[in-house]
Symmetry: C2
Subunit: 166 residues, 2 copies
DNA sequence: GTCAGTGCAAACTTTTTGCAACTAC
DNA sequence: GTAGTTGCAAAAAGTTTGCACTGAC
């Protein structure tokens, strides 16, 4: 499905959601949805705010962004993550379900695909719970930081008997 | 392993960590560790602050709590979650690895055990990543909210032709 | 004695709220 | 016309920071 097609589909879904829940179809809401579905990967409110203000023709207030994102989450068109201290959001319609690898040293977040794991999670027996979606965060060291860490250990062992540095 | 035993073990681990990293062994740090390992399940900074101030004999500042928790996370004795808007923490030594079910309607968080899923995650092939721990958040409707939801749908269908209420 | 660590308050960041103006219905 | 939405600014909530004091080493 190409990008334009996705945008039209999510617009339709959003319209249905708004109608079903008695919300108004304001231009702000559609502009926000459109911008979000132009973003690949994660974004935070501030990034979205700047994008809307600068790149797009439509400027909306932060309050409206928070309001609308809440609606989009309820409409299952956006998911929210909390990696660091501020909330990160991500479009989720037609966005392959993936997991997140988070390096605890450098903070880098990488998306990983793993079909088997996805299946295992979806098929896991949950006691009296209706699952709609999930987030798997894998914490550890990315390749780069892990190498640096090993290097440090090696050095530390070498210098073990001649401690001079702080 | 009984509670007292766990506390002594984590204290030892923490001491080793502090020594290895050139940090001081202050009474505040041990008091915080001890309080945390008296808590079953999740807690946030504020809860911990009040607990330390009221229940325990030891009062520490919020700044010190943030500092110490950071050390504890690095020492792998505490993990951090972000369900809602404030960070939730949880002790993780000898704390069975579990997953979290989060009801998107009422916000209730339930812990679930699932051995198969745990294995599947641990054994999943990760491209160049050294996994230390992970968090799986399952979002959906808890039994109670799901029932209420179905009820609402049913009612809505019944009242479909005689729309009177707001 | 020295400097890492602490407490306090102020600063900062992110999110929520109250209210007047606006507009989709 | 009216009630749901928006923008703005103020407030709230959570976290970080600067600085003087304290105490672990």
């Amino acid at each position: 499905m190409d990008s334009q097609n996705v945008k039209e589909t999510v617009k339709k879904i959003f319209t249905e959601y708004l109608t079903a829940n008695g919300h108004r179809k304001t231009p702000e809401r559609y502009a926000i949805l459109d911008t979000i579905y132009s973003i690949e990967g994660h974004f935070d409110i501030d990034t979205l705010y700047v994008m809307m203000a600068e790149e797009e023709k439509f400027r909306v207030s932060r309050a409206t962004l928070y309001n609308t994102i809440l609606l989009l989450i309820q409409a299952q068109l956006v998911v929210r993550h909390q990696f660091g201290n501020s909330s990160q959001y991500e479009r989720c319609y037609n966005n392959n379900n993936h997991h997140h690898q988070i390096c605890t040293h450098c903070g880098k977040v990488t998306e990983v695909q793993n079909k088997e794991l996805q299946e295992a999670i979806k098929n896991s027996k949950l006691n009296r719970f209706y699952l709609t979606h999930y987030s798997l965060y894998l914490y550890g060291l990315c390749n780069k930081c892990n190498k640096a860490f090993k290097q440090k250990i090696k050095q530390s062992n070498n210098n073990n008997n001649n401690k001079k540095e702080k």
